[in-house]
Symmetry: C2
Subunit: 269 residues, 2 copies
């Protein structure tokens, strides 16, 4: 673990990341000493920092620290957190806030191989996401909705929970983005009012573009989701999981999903 | 500062308070070695912990630590944070999470005395609060909406920002609860879909009850607020501030507000 470039695993109790969740983060997979799609993650980190008015750490600095981490921990998962830094004088961001950035490492979660190969069972979460355009899409540290949603089940056969917003639109999984296939067209929810716009979502859209598969961002509800030809979930750690079962609906084939999965897993950085 | 009962000012970067804002807090005023209205604060802390499924630290333990703090820092502001503790395996709360609790101290903010005596100028925030019934009322650590709202102005003449929800209902100040007076009746916004239900709000409602002043919780919009006879803002640190100016509307008299202020300031714990 590194805190502001130095080995350590502690931060100040006055850090605004703790006090207010005033920060952003990235979770990425590392393989053979390489961080997968780091440039895309840095780009998203920058975007999210700008959205919150946080000064993003320099690309070269982060790349250098990441390389040091990778030399010691070549395979697994790396988490990067950037907060607005210390401050105790209320909610207003300090004029001269000095950003805190820290790295943590972990093992790759031990998911059953079957989930990626034959699909997962998911549940519909009771919690409905609130709509806040100012925070939508950003991978920020205010994640209590995800915590409450993930607390809804403990059946280990259920790999993910699907989240709707409070208007009934399908938005995402508790820790993944969602795509559905209808008549050969890829559809992914509009995240302009809630949800997290992940790097892997962008990679799927990029894949669609380069393979001449129509891909649209739009609103759809649960009924349309259950009527889809295929559904799949993506994030940077799990890669792509086809959806096998939700609300009694079973999907037997995942033709397009498996093609996307294969290409994403083998794509260069 | 105390972290889990020991002097210290650092917590683990794996604490879920930082990772997800998975925790709650209290801010209270201390005077002459006494924490104001501690029993009410502990009651609210317990309520908020239950709402998130966090194990609340024992009352006697917290009271004992608070007493130690007060002996060294008799006057000012004390902040208490309780988080779900450490954990890095995703959003779902760990089965055996060990709560983290920590205390921090600070000086009483140096507000102009005039604000309590003759009222404050406030602005209407552009940010609209999102509606999440599962988190409404709780003083949790997901406070990015407050941060963004407080970042909207830096004119030091403006003491507070007023927040509406995304349906246009008046909800609160960025760090205070709001009351208005209309025809001798106290009205305070319904906080069942957003906002923080503070201890001082409860004290005002209790005051109204014991003084036979009608007090109702209900929804109202900006127009009704501007048409009110009086408006005032409360929290445990500022006490009570009458509203003198908002959106070009000026209030010259604060008869009921000043009576409430006087009684609250002199009420026993």
């Amino acid at each position: 673990m590194l805190v502001n470039g130095k080995p350590g695993k502690l931060i100040s109790i006055r850090d605004r990341g703790l006090l207010y969740g005033d920060g952003v983060f990235r979770t990425l997979r590392t393989t053979l000493g390489k961080a997968q799609h780091w440039p895309l993650h840095y780009q998203k980190l920058q975007h999210d920092c700008v959205a919150l008015g946080i000064i993003c750490p320099d690309a070269a600095l982060l790349a250098s620290e990441l390389n040091d981490l990778l030399a010691l921990h070549p395979d697994g998962v790396v988490k990067l957190i950037v907060t607005r830094g210390e401050g105790t004088r209320g909610y207003a961001p300090p004029v001269c806030a000095k950003t805190t950035h820290l790295w943590d490492i972990g093992l790759l979660p031990d998911y059953p191989a079957d989930w990626a190969e034959h699909g997962i069972k998911a549940r519909l979460c009771q919690l409905r996401l609130s709509q806040q355009p100012r925070l939508a899409g950003i991978k920020h540290l205010n994640r209590l909705e995800n915590v409450l949603a993930a607390a809804e089940w403990n059946d280990t056969d259920i790999a993910e929970g699907i989240l709707l917003d409070d208007s009934g639109n399908v938005i995402e999984g508790t820790r993944s983005n969602l795509f559905m296939v209808r008549d050969g067209v890829l559809l992914t929810p509009d995240l302009s009012r809630c949800g997290v716009d992940g790097v892997q979502r962008g990679r799927v859209m990029q894949w669609a573009d380069s393979h001449n598969v129509p891909c649209r961002v739009e609103q759809f509800g649960l009924e349309e989701l259950l009527a889809a030809d295929e559904v799949f979930l993506v994030n940077s750690v799990i890669g792509l999981w086809p959806l096998r079962e939700l609300q009694g609906r079973n999907w037997g084939q995942h033709l397009l999903a498996m093609q996307v999965q294969k290409d994403l897993n083998h794509a260069p950085d």
